[in-house]
C-alpha cells in the first residue's frame, strides 16, 4: 500500500481510478476494435477511394487501378452532374421512392403484420410471418421474374389473363403504373425486416404487463396504443433509420424490373444512376469517375440523414445506461 494511501490522501482513489479508467477505455476500444476495423476497411477506405475516383476522368477507355496515374480533373464530374438535366428528377425520384416505400411497407405494414401475428394463435402467427419472409429470402432475379410474369401484358401475364377473362381491358402495368410496382415489389421485401424487429420487441414485453392492461379494462386496440406502442418506440426508430439508409442504396429490384424507365428516368433512383454510369453500359466504356461522383453524393446524403436521425430520435438516450443502473 502506498504512503499516500496510508495517509488517506484523496489522490489514492484518483490514482487507482485513473488506472481503472485506462483499463476501462482500453477494454472498450478493444471490444470495439473488430467492428472499427471493419468500418475502416469496408467503409471509410472505399469512400476515400471513391471520392478520389470522382475527381478523375476514369473510364473504360483509360482504365487503370493505379491511383497515381489516373487523370485528376478536379470537380469537373460534379459540375457535369449538377448540369445534368435529369439529376434533379432522379434526386426527387429517390426521395419519393424512399419515403413511400418506407412509410407504407417497411414501417406501417411491418408493424401491422407484427401486431396481427402476435395477437393470433402463436403457431399461426409464425406461419404468416414465415410467408412474409419469402420475398426476402428469394433470389432477387427469381423474385422479379415472378413479378414480371404476374404483371406482363396479355396473354403472357397472370393478372391480365384474369382481366381478359372478366372482359376487362389489359394493361402493360410496367408502363402505366411503374411506381406502384417498384414500391410494392421493394416493399414486400422490406416488410420482413421491420416485422422481425417489431415482433421480437412485442414478444419481449412482459406478459403480466399486457395482461394487467386488459384487467384494467383496456381493449386490445387501447392496449396496442397505450402499452405496446410506447414500449416498442426504440425498435420503431431503429427500423425507420436503418431502412431509410437501406432504401437509399437499394436498386437491384428496380434495375431488374424497370431499369429506371419507362421514358425519361421515370423510376430511376440515384444509386441506380451511379451503377449505370460506373458499371453498366450497353455500349461499354463505362464512366467510373462520373459514376463515382453520383456515389459520393449518395454517401454524403446517407451520412447527413444518419446524423439527423440520431439527433431527432435521440439515439444517445437509446444507448444510455438505464437510470435505475446509474443510481
Amino acid at each position: 500500500m502506498s504512503e499516500q494511501a496510508k495517509t488517506g490522501d484523496t489522490t489514492v482513489p484518483r490514482s487507482r481510478g485513473g488506472s481503472n479508467a485506462l483499463k476501462s477505455y482500453l477494454g472498450a476500444y478493444g471490444f470495439m476494435a473488430p467492428a472499427g476495423i471493419l468500418v475502416i476497411v469496408f467503409f471509410l477506405i472505399p469512400v476515400a477511394i471513391v471520392l478520389y475516383l470522382s475527381l478523375t476522368n476514369l473510364a473504360s477507355s483509360n482504365f487503370t487501378s493505379n491511383l497515381a496515374i489516373m487523370e485528376f480533373i478536379g470537380l469537373k464530374n460534379y459540375q457535369t452532374l449538377l448540369n445534368d438535366q435529369f439529376a434533379r428528377k432522379i434526386f426527387f425520384n429517390t426521395i419519393f421512392y424512399v419515403l413511400v416505400t418506407l412509410s407504407i411497407f417497411n414501417v406501417s405494414l411491418a408493424l401491422l403484420v407484427s401486431l396481427l401475428t402476435t395477437h393470433i394463435d402463436r403457431s399461426a402467427g409464425f406461419v404468416f410471418r414465415a410467408l412474409w419472409i419469402l420475398p426476402r429470402i428469394t433470389s432477387p432475379v427469381v423474385y422479379i421474374l415472378i413479378w414480371k410474369r404476374m404483371i406482363a401484358e396479355a396473354p403472357f401475364g397472370i393478372i391480365n389473363q384474369f382481366n381478359e377473362a372478366l372482359g376487362q381491358p389489359t394493361y402493360n402495368y410496367i408502363s402505366t403504373n411503374p411506381w406502384v410496382f417498384v414500391v410494392v415489389v421493394n416493399g414486400f421485401i422490406g416488410v420482413s425486416f421491420g416485422m422481425i424487429i417489431f415482433t421480437s420487441a412485442i414478444e419481449s414485453i412482459p406478459r403480466d404487463l399486457l395482461n394487467a392492461s386488459l384487467v384494467d379494462g383496456s381493449s386490445k386496440l387501447q392496449r396496442i396504443r397505450y402499452v405496446i406502442m410506447p414500449l416498442i418506440r426504440w425498435p420503431l426508430l431503429f427500423v425507420v433509420t436503418y431502412q431509410t439508409l437501406s432504401l437509399l442504396t437499394s436498386f437491384v429490384e428496380i434495375q431488374l424490373l424497370t431499369d429506371g424507365g419507362p421514358g425519361l428516368y421515370r423510376t430511376e433512383v440515384w444509386s441506380l444512376t451511379a451503377y449505370h454510369r460506373a458499371l453498366s453500359n450497353y455500349f461499354g466504356n463505362a464512366q467510373w469517375g462520373y459514376g463515382s461522383a453520383f456515389a459520393v453524393l449518395l454517401v454524403m446524403i446517407g451520412v447527413v440523414l444518419a446524423v439527423i436521425y440520431m439527433r431527432v430520435f435521440r439515439f444517445d438516450e437509446l444507448i444510455a445506461e438505464p437510470r435505475v443502473e446509474a443510481l
Binding site: A152, F156, N281
Partner: protein, 447 residues
C-alpha cells in the same frame, strides 16, 4: 566414385527434368472468352476446339484451350474484360462488338494487328468493307467473327389479310432495295392495317424494346453523321429532329406503341413477333430467326412456319432515298496481356475459313465474312442466308470512338422522350443535344 547404377539414375533424372521442362515450354494455355446465345451461336467458341489439333500440328506445340462462353449482358461482359485486363487475368482472345475497339484500343487492353494480319492468307479473303469497322487511330485491332443485317421482318400473314397478293409480298424486298417502297409507305401500310382492324393500335410496327445499335439507322436514314472527316463526334440537329419526328409520328398515328421501349425481349417481344399474327412490321436482326424457330414456333414447324409467314427486307428508304441496314460485326480481339498472341492469332486464322464460319452463319443466321464463303455450296444453297446476304451491300455500322456510349445514350434519351410523349421532336432533340454537350463538352460538334 559413382557406381554404374548411380550414374544411370542421375542420367535418367536429368533427362526427365529436361523432358519435363521442354514439355512445359510446349504446352501453351490459351483462354478464349465468347458471348453467345446457345445453341445457335455456340460455334463462336466451339470452332476453336475444332481447329485445336490442326494448330498444334502446324506449330508443333501443345495447346491447353480454355473456352469460356455464356450469354451475359453486354454491360457486364465488357466490364469483365476491362477489370480482368487491369488485373492481368484477361483472356487471350475476347469476342465482342467492334465498337469496343474505340474504348479498349486507347486503354491499351488490346493489340493492333496490322503487322501480323498479312502473315495469314485466311484474312485476305475477308469482305473488304468489314475491315472499316475494325479500325481505330489508323490501325486494325480485330478480326471479324461474323456479320449480320438488321432488317424489317414483315408478316406475310397480315399482309395477305390486308389484301396484298403473293407477288406483292414476295417482291417487297426488291422494291425496298430499289428505293421504290419507302419507310413512308411502310408507315402508311401499317396505319391502314390498324384502321382496318387487321392489327391492334400500336402493332403496325415494333422496333427493339431497349437501347441498341438499330436505332442509329433511322438517323443515318435522314442523312445524319456521327463522325466527321477527322474522326470527331458530331451530331446533325436536322437529321436528329427528323428522326424523332418519324418515331414520334409513328406513335401519334397509332402505328407504334408508346411503350414498346421497356417490353421484355423474351417474355413479350420475341414470342409476339414470331407468331406473325399480331405485329405487321418488326425491326430486328437476322439472328432472331433461328431463335424464333427453336424457342417460339418450333411446335408450328419452326423454319417452315417462319418462311411461310414472315419475310425480311432492308430498312426502307427514308430522307436519303436509300434503303439501308446496319451490321454490327462481332470481333475477335487479342488481349495485350496475352503471352502468346501469335498462337492466338493462329487459332483465329484457322477458324476464319468458309467451312468453319459457315457453321456459325447457318446455325445462327449471321452473314458470312469471307468471299469464298459466299460462293460455297453450303452458304449459297441456304435459303435464309441467300435471302439476306445482299443486305451487306446496303449496310452501315457504328463508329469506334470512346465517346460513342455518351452519344448513343443521349440519342436514346431523345427517342424515349418523343415516344412516351414527354417531348415533341424538337424538344427531344434539345434533350439529346444538351446531354451530349454536357457529357462530351468540346468532344462533340453540333451541326
Amino acid at each position: 566414385m559413382f557406381s554404374r547404377l548411380g550414374i544411370a539414375l542421375i542420367f535418367i533424372l536429368v533427362l526427365s527434368l529436361l523432358t519435363g521442362i521442354v514439355g512445359a515450354q510446349d504446352s501453351i494455355s490459351i483462354t478464349i472468352r465468347c458471348k453467345a446465345s446457345p445453341p445457335e451461336e455456340d460455334w463462336r467458341c466451339n470452332n476453336f476446339a475444332e481447329v485445336e489439333a490442326e494448330v498444334e500440328a502446324n506449330l508443333g506445340i501443345d495447346i491447353e484451350l480454355n473456352l469460356i462462353q455464356d450469354n451475359a449482358g453486354w454491360g457486364d461482359y465488357k466490364n469483365e474484360f476491362v477489370l480482368a485486363s487491369e488485373a492481368g487475368e484477361a483472356p487471350d482472345i475476347i469476342l465482342s462488338g467492334h465498337e469496343d475497339i474505340g474504348a479498349w484500343a486507347p486503354a491499351g487492353f488490346i493489340i493492333p494487328l496490322d503487322d501480323v494480319i498479312g502473315m495469314h492468307s485466311e484474312f485476305d479473303d475477308i469482305v473488304p468493307s468489314l475491315w472499316d469497322s475494325h479500325g481505330y487511330a489508323g490501325q486494325i485491332w480485330g478480326i471479324p467473327q461474323d456479320a449480320e443485317a438488321r432488317p424489317i421482318f414483315y408478316s406475310k400473314l397480315l399482309l395477305r389479310d390486308l389484301g396484298w397478293s403473293e407477288e406483292d409480298i414476295e417482291s417487297l424486298p426488291d422494291r425496298v432495295a430499289a428505293g421504290e417502297w419507302t419507310f413512308a409507305d411502310m408507315l402508311a401500310t401499317a396505319e391502314a392495317a390498324v384502321e382496318e382492324g387487321i392489327v391492334d393500335a400500336g402493332n403496325g410496327w415494333w422496333h427493339r424494346p431497349s437501347n441498341g445499335p438499330d436505332f442509329l439507322y433511322y438517323y443515318y436514314g435522314h442523312g445524319g453523321e456521327v463522325l466527321d472527316m477527322e474522326g470527331n463526334l458530331v451530331v446533325d440537329s436536322e437529321a436528329l429532329v427528323a428522326t424523332y419526328e418519324l418515331l414520334g409520328g409513328a406513335v401519334a398515328s397509332g402505328v407504334l406503341r408508346s411503350d414498346v421501349i421497356g417490353l421484355d425481349w423474351n417474355e413479350v417481344w420475341h414470342p409476339t413477333v414470331a407468331q406473325a399474327d399480331t405485329v405487321l412490321f418488326a425491326a430486328g436482326g437476322t439472328w432472331n430467326w433461328p431463335n424464333w424457330a427453336i424457342n417460339y414456333v418450333a411446335d408450328k414447324g419452326g423454319d417452315e412456319f417462319l418462311f411461310e409467314n414472315i419475310g425480311l427486307t432492308l430498312i426502307p428508304a427514308m430522307a436519303t432515298g436509300k434503303a439501308i441496314t446496319l451490321t454490327h460485326p462481332l470481333t475477335y480481339m487479342i488481349s495485350s496481356g496475352s503471352e502468346n498472341p501469335d498462337v492466338a492469332l493462329e487459332l483465329i486464322a484457322a477458324i476464319t475459313t468458309p467451312e468453319h464460319n459457315n457453321k456459325h452463319a447457318i446455325d445462327s443466321f449471321h452473314l458470312g465474312i469471307l468471299n469464298a464463303q459466299l460462293e460455297s455450296e453450303a452458304y449459297a444453297n441456304n435459303r435464309l442466308l441467300s435471302s439476306a446476304h445482299y443486305m451487306l451491300d446496303h449496310t452501315t455500322a457504328l463508329p469506334n470512338h470512346p465517346g460513342w456510349n455518351a452519344w448513343s445514350n443521349a440519342y436514346f434519351l431523345g427517342i424515349q422522350a418523343v415516344e412516351t410523349g414527354e417531348a415533341d421532336a424538337a424538344g427531344a432533340a434539345d434533350i439529346a443535344i444538351a446531354q451530349m454537350q454536357n457529357e462530351l463538352g468540346d468532344g462533340i460538334t453540333v451541326r
